[in-house]
Amino acid sequence: MSVGKPLPHDAAHLHVTGTARYIDDMPLPADTLHAAFGLSKVAAGCITAMDLEKVRAAPGVVMVLVAADLPFANDVSPSAHDEPLLATDTVHYMGQPLFLVLATSHLAARKAARLGHVSVEETKPILTIDDALAADARFENGPVIWARGDVEAALSAAPNLIEGSMEIGGQEHFYLEGQAALALPQENGDMDVMSSTQHPTEIQHKVAEGLGLPQHGVRVETRRMGGAFGGKESQGNALAVACAVGAHLTGRPVKMRYDRDDDMIITGKRHDFRIAYRAGFDDSGMLTGVDFRQYARCGWAQDLSLPVADRAMLHADNAYFLPHVRIESHRLRTNTQSATAFRGFGGPQGMVGIERVMDQIAHKLGLDGAEVRRRNYYDAPQPTGAGTGHRYGRAHSPAQAQLRNLTPYGMKVQGFLLNDMTADLIARSDYIARRAAVDRFNAENEVLKKGLSLTPVKFGISFTLSHLNQAGALVHVYADGSVRMNHGGTEMGQGLFQKVAQVAASRFGIGVEAVRITATDTGKVPNTSATAASSGTDLNGMAVAAACDTIRERMSAHLAEAKGCAPEQVVFEGGNVRWPGGSIPFAEAAARAYAARISLSATGFYATPGLSWDRQKGHGTPFFYFAHGVAVTEAVIDTLTGENRLLRTDILHDAGASLNPAIDIGQIEGGYVQGAGWLTCEELVWDNRGALRTHAPSTYKIPAVSDPPPVFNVALWPGANRADTIYRSKAVGEPPFMLGISAFLALSDAVAACGAGYPALDAPATPERILAAVERVRDGV
């Protein structure tokens, strides 16, 4: 079987030769136009006049469009219809598209777009969390509050109390391939769109609205993205609609690609958060109650901010049982880019909050951080069955009554692995001896200080908007035994296509080379969900398996009838189809089925079972299962400059029964480095006019090749998913990102070695912040 094998990425041979095509590499029809947006230079105000004469007169310009020129809907929002493609009368952020230029070249369009004169009566922009709170600028009416138990009573009764607040910065996706789209007008007013998107169906919907077409008039195709990380879940809508409208109005193909600068200025990023907390705990560090207030800076439009903020609340527990808990979530509207999906989708911010609490509890009690965490973990699964005394369903079972396995939102945590995984990683990473070595080093060194931190991850898998948890597939077997496969998931580098091809190959018992993976296409599989929430393989793997099984059953039935055996006795294995007493190659079985007039094409469909979620109440079972991971990071800081390095990282991660261990380990390594980047070196800075000052890699520091730790050990936890997923694998796209929290807290631990105070580091822990924290700690604050 090909599942479980560490096969290379399906397009690896194309990537390494530069022949894998991205949107920008596609050959264009001769008369293709290129599009560029004219952008707002102020963050807030009312447009009083637009003088675009110089734009129209610029060389190569064919058409210039403002909002009033758009033929149908002026909206590219994925949610609340509050995101005009082109600004109408109000400007909401610096970088907002105001007008659209179509020209004969990319450069001509960009040059012309700079020539517009737009008069804006400026108003004072709402830029920060404090600004938004003062102006009561929000999405949804007030804060969302979920609670369990009596937090105030728990806090006042607690023997120990901590409180604090931390700032958690946002993050630029910096997908290496910037946003891009190409619209190709078809006969009868139809539109084909090639888009670098995680969500072809939404592109289809927004383009259809923009052109006044039924959805059947628009076909969207996505072969691959050069990275996405959530940044292409909704942020591609504007380009696709702009191209489609331009193509509709001119009758010519239109392409648009943001230059990096524009990309960073226009598109949304990870939500920055402030998390204020109060926590009560006993002398062993066991939490008795915790109160979180999460403030999310959502930017100017709603986009995906509500589910992002929900997921932050849903991960405020991370791996810990919170006996009494209250989580208050503020979704704040500001005159900045509309913050959007980014790997983890709010989960990482929520998790940073509770990890900060754990860290501070350990500091206050003088206990080891890993030990405090383990004490607060959810309970490990209890042995069940006769003789154990822990059988479920037994009345008044003391074991059950005391089980600490209920999340704040009322979902039972089943199959919790972190007790075992943490013990294993502590041994593997030599944590205890290294803790002592770090302490020794710190006692002997004045200038350099080391830190060590262990942090776990428990991440819920499923879209919290339950209806999104569905997928479709289309599989063809040709008469020569080759297979062509299509599904609703998109390939952004995560290896989805290869994993799903491995599933298809395994169902037919053939080699993966016999399976051709094709571009995601709304004309082949309709009504798909975004490839997001780590769910791509879970959903599409199941849908493809279902389609393959339909075809296989038809082939089995035919052969069984011909050979006089039961259909179940027909086995697909090793490239052959066997029955008792005979065997033929798969290709021959396909040819025979064709000759017997049996359909070799099928659709497949999958909907995740067992989900029920009431987001208003904050109660239910939003997740199919949890993925787990644990990381230990060691870091060193220079107390004179704040400069720092990661020295060693050990990771143990739970990918269930991995469909492709090499791809999964790649996700874990890349996720960790991206997560560590978010919390250490990647800093977004807006000035007091609302201009994003870090709008290029010259000022925004992405981890480079020398930034990961020189010792970097990653292992997969061996074990199948208890939930019935595709071959018992687990989702792996987002969960490892949050392992990067251990890097942040290792730096914090190093700062803590400088004095008696608690570092109270904000994120990202830039050298400046570390230096300031060292001073604070030395002053014993």
Partner: protein, 175 residues
């Protein structure tokens, strides 16, 4: 406006001549005039390295070099290093060792790595990291990229006359 220059480039062993405005960037000359789309536009400002090519024996970021500056140069892009049917050792190594995810940085990464191993055929891991510092990958965390380059170096040193020669001959032909 029509201040065009006569430009000659030798790209991957093939001679090209055309008229271009002096401010035209090399990356656009390659991608749009010559349809050599392996080198990608990543950041437009020479930070990410997706556009890396070899120019007269040196690694160059094609997104911030004018084509006029490249006039008369010998250029090797990823297309000149190997093809899907005849992979260079480094290309095979990146494929085999999962030195890529989304693949967008890969052409520049490998083009730089080929040059790096010419400059230093037996690099340590630290030297690989130093030598690749101008190329950004957002997906992999670099572990498998470094592993791919070290494995390729080992293989090229173990078999100096066989598979290594395939790619090197092409590079030399271009130079």
């Amino acid at each position: 406006m029509s201040n065009k220059m006569h430009i000659q480039l030798n790209v991957n062993g093939e001679a090209h001549e055309f008229l271009a405005e002096p401010r035209e960037l090399l990356i656009y000359a390659l991608r749009e005039r010559l349809n050599i789309t392996g080198p990608h536009v990543g950041c437009d400002t020479s930070h990410c390295g997706a556009c890396t090519v070899t120019l007269d024996g040196k690694s160059v970021k094609a997104c911030t070099m004018f084509v006029a500056q490249a006039n008369g140069a010998e250029i090797t892009t990823i297309e000149g290093i190997g093809s899907p049917d005849a992979l260079h050792v480094l290309q095979e190594s990146f494929r085999e060792h999962h030195g890529l995810q989304c693949g967008f940085c890969t052409p520049g990464m490998i083009t730089r790595a080929v040059k790096l191993l010419e400059e230093n055929p037996t690099p340590t891991e630290e030297e690989v990291r130093f030598g690749m510092a101008g190329n950004i990958c957002r997906c992999t965390g670099y572990q498998n990229i470094v592993k791919s380059i070290l494995a390729a170096a080992n293989e090229m040193n173990a078999q100096p006359s066989s598979s290594e020669a395939v790619g090197h001959n092409k590079v030399e032909a271009a130079e």
